[in-house]
């Protein structure tokens, strides 16, 4: 690990610290310290934000709930209100990592976690995300865990998390404070980026900005499922995951929202899928149509080709379960 200066402010006034080149925030640290040990991350200044508050879960005026950026994943998943009214979020968080890691991992930090691409984490290999302009080693390399949607020759890394996938399905909003203390809100569906020409940028946070919380809209009810397909049944990243919030009325789907994890540089959400499901009667043909919409532009890079049929089977299984269809 490279040497760094350590600072621990007791309020959001630390923003000026972030204007310094090389300053990085640390909250739970479970991803950042791992990457610092590998010298993938080499901050000159580490700003410890664990004692600035932002650790409450509070109802909003609109019937939703606001989760402070420093609420731990464990606390969020165990919160009785989240379990009762937004169970999809509890399910997704509990599907990830281990008890120890969830105790440290935070709501804001989890949104900002980096890819687990083998080449990103190995400083001896070219990687456009870690060192722009050096090339993508995964494109023609080991890419079993890599993206099949929205990728390009610059970067085929995936966003690896679970929590955010549920937040995409639930249409959450990320609250952000800036260096001048002005705040802005970004729909979580617009928070993460596709690689495009700037694969080094995972999300839309600007220099000096800090996530202060995540707001979930009022509960949508219905059936909420998080299906995670992985190499072992616990404590592993997803190969494909699906968050589904779906409501049935009189034999038809009255409301649907699906999001997909570990398939792209960001959790994947396609409005056409939600629209195709809404108002429709469950059928195998409908579920195939949804899979077609999801995968029409899917592209494998060799070792990850299997993710395309895996995603088709998984989305159909999730929709059968969520609608109670016997097909």
């Amino acid at each position: 690990m490279r040497p760094f200066d350590y600072q621990r402010p007791d309020g959001l006034d630390h923003a000026s610290l972030l204007d310094r080149d090389g300053a990085t925030l640390i909250a739970g640290g479970t991803n950042l310290l791992d990457l610092m040990k590998l010298q993938v991350e080499t901050p000159e200044t580490l700003v410890d934000i664990n004692r600035i508050g932002l650790d409450k879960i509070e109802p909003t005026g609109e019937g939703g709930i606001r989760i402070g950026a420093l609420v731990s994943n464990s606390t969020c998943a165990a919160d009785p209100r989240i379990r009762a009214d937004w169970p999809l979020l509890s399910r997704a968080i509990l599907a990830g990592a281990s008890g120890q890691l969830r105790n440290k991992a935070t709501t804001g930090g989890n949104l900002c976690q980096r890819t687990r691409c083998y080449y990103f984490m190995n400083i001896d290999m070219p990687c456009n995300k870690r060192e722009p302009g050096t090339g993508c080693s995964a494109l023609n390399g080991r890419n079993r865990i890599h993206a099949v949607l929205g990728a390009n020759e610059n970067c085929i890394a995936t966003y690896p998390g679970d929590m955010a996938v549920a937040m995409y399905a639930l249409d959450a909003t990320v609250e952000i404070a800036g260096p001048d203390k002005a705040s802005r809100s970004v729909r979580v569906r617009d928070f993460h980026r596709l690689p495009g020409e700037r694969p080094e940028l995972d999300n839309v946070l600007e220099a000096g900005e800090v996530i202060t919380g995540v707001t979930l809209p009022a509960p949508v009810g219905g059936t909420q499922l998080y299906r995670k397909v992985r190499e072992r049944s616990s404590y592993a990243f997803a190969l494909v995951s699906i968050a589904a919030a779906l409501r049935m009325e009189e034999g038809a789907i009255s409301r649907a929202s699906l999001a997909f994890g570990s398939m792209a540089h960001k959790p994947w959400h396609d409005l056409r899928i939600d629209a195709a499901l809404t108002g429709a009667k469950p059928s195998d043909a409908l579920f195939d149509h949804v899979a077609d919409l999801l995968l029409e532009d899917a592209e494998g890079y060799g070792e990850n080709d299997f993710k395309i049929p895996l995603a088709r089977r998984t989305v159909k299984a999730v929709l059968r379960e969520a609608t109670g269809a016997s097909t």
Binding site: Y6, R8, D34, S98, Y235
Partner: protein
């Protein structure tokens, strides 16, 4: 700055790069906590911070001013074992023993989490009280790897402590 480790105040003035794990082992002489992978993948370094289990390899000592740290040495001694330590002996919950301190610290906090009503990934009804079945224990302990494969006996040991506490 100071930390409370197993009820004793310890000063820390070292390099901020020092992980809590290295501080415990190297500076405090508490070598019960083990370094396995040093990357949060094995759980051998599990300790309790303010009663919660964490991987001590993935946190910095400097981040824990005034926190209360409990290591395996703080849970029990050879003369006065914690019930989990005694149950691991009774059930042969190990072979080489390297993962054992992490397993026991993790199990201690896991039982407290279940007592507090926290659900897990295998809990059927998120709004009901979860019964600590062997399946629940395996899921909740999945952050602690045992390369000898003593898992069945570890689950038996934890189950016994849970039953005895009733």
């Amino acid at each position: 700055m100071k930390l409370a480790i197993n009820g004793t105040t310890q000063g820390f003035e070292g390099d901020p790069r020092t992980s809590l794990l290295d501080f415990l082992r190297r500076d405090c002489g508490l070598t019960g906590t083990k370094k396995g992978c040093d990357h949060g993948q094995c759980g051998a370094c599990t300790v309790l911070v303010n009663g919660q289990r964490i991987n001590s390899c993935l946190t910095l000592a400097v981040m824990h001013e005034d926190d209360e740290i409990t290591t395996i040495e703080g849970l029990g001694t050879p003369q006065d074992m914690h019930p989990l330590q005694a149950a691991f002996v009774d059930h042969d919950g190990y072979q080489c023993g390297y993962c054992t301190p992490g397993q026991i610290c993790s199990a201690k906090a896991m039982l407290d989490e279940a007592q507090a009503g926290w659900p897990s990934a295998v809990t059927g009804d998120l709004t009901a009280e979860a019964e600590l079945t062997p399946e629940e224990i395996r899921e909740r302990m999945s952050g602690n790897l045992c390369r000898c494969g003593a898992y069945s006996n570890i689950v038996d040991a934890i189950t016994q402590v849970k039953e005895d506490a009733r």
